[in-house]
């Protein structure tokens, strides 16, 4: 079977899982459904012969699942009841998205065939990557040699986002400490 058919099956499974994640009332079950979506993305990367991305996606999925379970388990949520306005909004959204899809069909004809991109840089990397960088893993040679600037940007993004998250979390934990001290006194 060609790869495209497998990927179509995985995509259908992912769509079903994401609808299930929205509709299931139990929090743990919907977290598991989100995990199925992430696993589907990882499998897609594996079928498209990108094991590097598949590994990273799979690991981050585990990481996100642990955080979600720790954050949302044991909490009670109240369901939003469907009102007339909600139904109208849903209909408007569906109509808008469908019309955008219909208008964008003609754009798909302009796209190059699957696996035949217009840019030819990839072929250069395949031909000369191992000789010029000495790395057997071509992905490594691209992200850390040919495109090392991008990786520096990624590192900067990670560094800045974690600084921001830490400063917010630190303020909140200090506020909590002060509150408990004032309660004890």
């Amino acid at each position: 079977m060609p790869v495209e058919i497998w990927i179509t099956y995985i995509l259908i499974l992912m769509i079903i899982a994401s609808i299930a994640a929205l509709e299931i009332e139990d929090v743990l079950s919907s977290i598991v459904a989100i995990g199925v979506v992430g696993l589907g993305v990882s499998l897609c990367f594996l079928f498209l012969q990108a094991p590097d991305l598949a590994i990273v996606q799979f690991l981050f999925e585990i990481f996100a699942l642990i955080i979600l379970v720790k954050a949302f388990l044991g909490k009670e949520y109240h369901k939003t009841e469907s009102t007339k306005l909600n139904i109208i909004l849903t209909i408007v959204t569906i109509i808008t998205l469908t019309s955008i899809l219909i208008f964008s069909v003609s754009v798909f004809d302009l796209l190059p065939d699957f696996g035949k991109p217009y840019m030819n840089t990839a072929q250069y990397y395949l031909d000369n990557g191992a000789r010029e960088t000495g790395a057997a893993n071509l992905v490594s040679s691209v992200i850390l040699d040919y495109r090392a600037y991008d990786t520096l940007g990624e590192i900067t993004v990670l560094f800045t986002s974690i600084l921001g998250a830490l400063s917010i979390l630190r303020i909140r934990s200090q506020m909590k400490k002060e509150n408990s001290e004032s309660q004890n006194a």
Binding site: L59, I62, T133, A136, L152, L158, F159, A165
Partner: protein, 147 residues
């Protein structure tokens, strides 16, 4: 000391043995980034998950004694600056930023591919420590109780 914290004795014993294997696997993924799929990001996440395993099994107080968060914080910032330093050294030796100035070596050898190996190690340390620090600060907030 903190005997009643964390999970049961069975989980703690299994974690005590398995966490070193997970750390070893993460280090392997980082060091073989230029030979096999993986690299700094994937290996770093595995290292962070191993530390998270200890945090879940043993509880927060044990981890605070076992690891110094300030040290991890310093390591994280140091790794980020080492990436830039390696890049600037490329400017000195080859003439452009992040140039590959170390010896390329033989294909498929562990010590090959010039600056790709040190950059992978630096990224692995950076990702591993920073993800774990975020988890550690989140665990302080007791988010499961809504505080």
């Amino acid at each position: 000391m903190h005997k009643h914290e964390g999970m049961t004795l069975i989980v703690k014993t299994v974690t005590r043995i398995s966490v070193w294997m997970i750390l070893l696997y993460g280090t392997y993924i980082v060091f073989h980034g230029h030979l096999s799929p993986g690299g700094g990001f994937a290996g770093g996440v595995i290292i962070a998950l191993a530390l998270l395993n200890v945090l879940l099994a043993y509880g927060r107080n044990f981890v605070t004694e076992w690891l110094s968060i300030k040290f991890l914080h310093g390591l994280e910032s140091l790794a980020a600056s080492f990436f830039v330093i390696i890049g600037i050294l490329g400017m000195v030796y080859v003439g452009y930023f992040l140039g590959n100035y170390l010896s390329k070596g033989e294909l498929f050898n562990l010590l090959s591919a010039g600056t790709i190996l040190p950059l992978n190690i630096v990224i692995g340390i950076k990702v591993g420590t920073s993800l774990f620090i975020v988890i550690w600060f989140l665990s302080e907030l007791k988010i499961d109780k809504g505080e």
